[in-house]
Symmetry: C2
DNA sequence: AGTGTTAGCGCCAACGTTTGCGCAACACAA
DNA sequence: TTGTGTTGCGCAAACGTTGGCGCTAACACT
């Protein structure tokens, strides 16, 4: 008896009318291969093959082909990529994890990654980790659930513990900007060391001896290399390295503001500021304005990461420009390299040159 | 206990070891419900129910539950969201289509949308339409294939033809920034009319009579409303409207540069510039610098869309600030409102107030 | 008439999950 | 013994696609 009931239930089928757009039904049932197939009295396979452009390969006759594609168009058929992905084990999706999309630096990278992905026919799942390690880890988990085929990650922190799962699962990954020297993951970053060294040397050659650094997050690779570059420059010129000139530990605007304020109060001997990010520079600008210090007369400044507006500032700012777009570009290349040939051992890292853009925020002193 | 025995038995037949990371196999087969179920001699249903936190509801015994969740952890089980989405007809994904992520304005919106989506447990598929209508249309198609449950769209153009399919399919949509007054789609935008009027009035009250507008793409709603605001202000003060003062037709930097150059050459009577976007302002700045015009002494300028650096420019720029984050925020709200109650007729549009930030790029004349 | 070839398509089993039913098995009261 | 609950779980059917395999005609050769 129950069996009979079940059977009936199973047999209950909809009369499958074409999705007449007349009524505003709750949800117009999706057009599927099956619906088209039934309508045309052919099999789903046939429909599938026509609609995936395989008609030729499977020798579907011209009449059938046109019939199918016409009906598909008429029904406004949209293949379900979930089903497709499930069957094919291919999602054509990559994950992009970024600390803050609204930061122009990361936005630039994101932009380029988006373009590159599209060119390869891939879509992007975007996650904003808000400079927060935990959110980043969550995002990575989420992306795995969603079967992304690859990952472009701008890690927020200094820890890579949450990455081991992923690399064990052989998920193609590319790190951008920040990376982990001890983890042999492919990465692309700016040549922070050279960039910072050149910037510092510019300062030194302009007579500056007491140069403060507005750091970003300590332990992160960009920060460490920039510090090292700074120190190398000092060393080359036999200048002492004063650890107390290395202040701050976030790339954010707040930090730039506060640390500059502090510096202005406590270290009257500082003649130049080296801001390790555009946000830090912005904070410094704010502090400087508040304290009525003029650039470059009262204090010189160089910032990492160029900005469009840098040239039109009250004191056009000398900056270390990073090739954002190229970074995004290379990241995509490295990623698809891995995706397309998974057997090959992933490449090492790539360092892209920075360029020092000299404007007028550095004063020659002495 | 029985479970343990079963396990042993099972293991003797098929030594399916946990995904030992010892070897670098071609692709470690994904851990699935089935694998766990087989190993434990229970059914997939049970595993599914435990792993989706439904153990209680289905009265799974405590031993079974812990056994399942332990093994899942051990195997590093990751549920396949494609399969899940297919079954549940729920992808927990929304699409975000943006003309250019690297534009700070859109980046700000994207950022906020990303946050909002995450809070609702949704992921974002990001598409960059590159200010190109065709790419935008492609992106929309793609997102449909991928069964997104909703769409946040910053349309590039003035045409909405490619949207009709989507609204017919009852796909929840929110338009941001640019919208189509004749299409009754929910949108959120800045109150461009008022913003532009206020800006223009500031100019007028400072004695300016010949004010040129650097327009964005004509026919787009922000542009049209800004023009209208500009004209309203002129009208209120009984000033003539000179159509030849409305130049350009792109929001890009190039356009700002070129049109400013032209203006400088052909219209010596212009005393003030009203740039309809930050990029346009940037272009104007470049042109002005090249021509050695000083702001505000030689020419005044106001720009739509505030920038962090605006305050520190050679001439701190007076701007019409748009509440980017709030726009993103509201967009998400409107979208999830639709997603969560599909029966309700979508809301109309929401206009967010702009604020005029007066700095020093406007000179009092006469 | 018998055999081979080819064109044109259908069958069916996946892919990994979820869930409505329903079935044993046991407990306990009557 | 029968009846009535409860506990704990399994069956199997979806969800929409795809592709290997194989089937049936029809036609072409001997």
């Amino acid at each position: 008896m129950e069996i009979g009931a079940a059977k009936n239930k199973r047999l209950r089928r909809k009369p499958a009318a074409p999705p007449a757009a007349g009524r505003r039904g709750p949800t117009p049932p999706q057009t599927t291969l099956k619906r088209i197939a039934d309508q045309l009295k052919v099999s789903m396979s046939t429909v599938s093959r026509v609609l995936s452009g395989q008609a030729r390969r499977y020798r579907i006759s011209a009449p059938t082909e046109t019939a199918v594609s016409n009906l598909a168009r008429q029904f406004n058929f949209v293949p379900n990529q979930l089903a497709r992905g499930l069957r094919l084990k291919k999602t054509l999706t990559i994950g992009l994890v970024i600390p803050d999309v609204s930061n122009p630096f990361f936005a630039g990278i994101a932009h380029q990654v988006a373009l590159g992905a599209r060119q390869h026919g891939y879509s992007i799942l975007l996650c904003d980790s808000q400079e927060n390690l935990e959110l980043e880890a969550q995002a990575l988990g989420l992306l795995r659930h969603r079967q992304v085929e690859g990952l472009v990650l701008c890690p927020v922190g200094t820890s890579a513990a949450h990455l081991v799962d992923l690399v064990q699962a052989h998920l193609p990954i590319v790190l951008v900007d920040r990376y982990f020297p001890d983890l042999s993951l492919p990465y692309v970053a700016a040549d922070n060391l050279t960039g910072a060294r050149e910037a510092t040397e510019l300062l030194i050659s302009n007579g500056h001896r007491c140069i403060a650094c507005l750091q970003g997050v300590r332990g992160s690779s960009p920060n460490e290399f920039r510090v090292r570059g700074y120190q190398q420059a000092l060393a080359r010129h036999r200048l002492p390295v004063d650890a107390s000139l290395l202040v701050g530990d976030s790339f954010g605007e707040q930090s730039g503001y506060i640390e500059t304020k502090l510096l202005l109060r406590n270290r009257k001997d500082v003649t130049a500021l080296f801001a390790f990010s555009n946000l830090l520079a912005l904070g410094a600008l704010r502090a400087l304005a508040e304290e009525h210090r003029r650039i470059p007369d009262d204090i010189s400044i160089i910032a990492f990461d160029d900005q469009p507006y840098a040239a039109y500032l009250a004191a056009p700012m000398t900056t270390v420009s990073q090739p954002r777009s190229e970074m995004g570009d290379v990241a995509v290349k490295l990623l698809f390299d891995q995706i397309q040939s998974p057997e090959r051992e992933p490449t090492g890292g790539i360092l892209l040159p920075t360029s020092l853009i000299v404007r007028r925020s550095v004063k020659k002193i002495k």
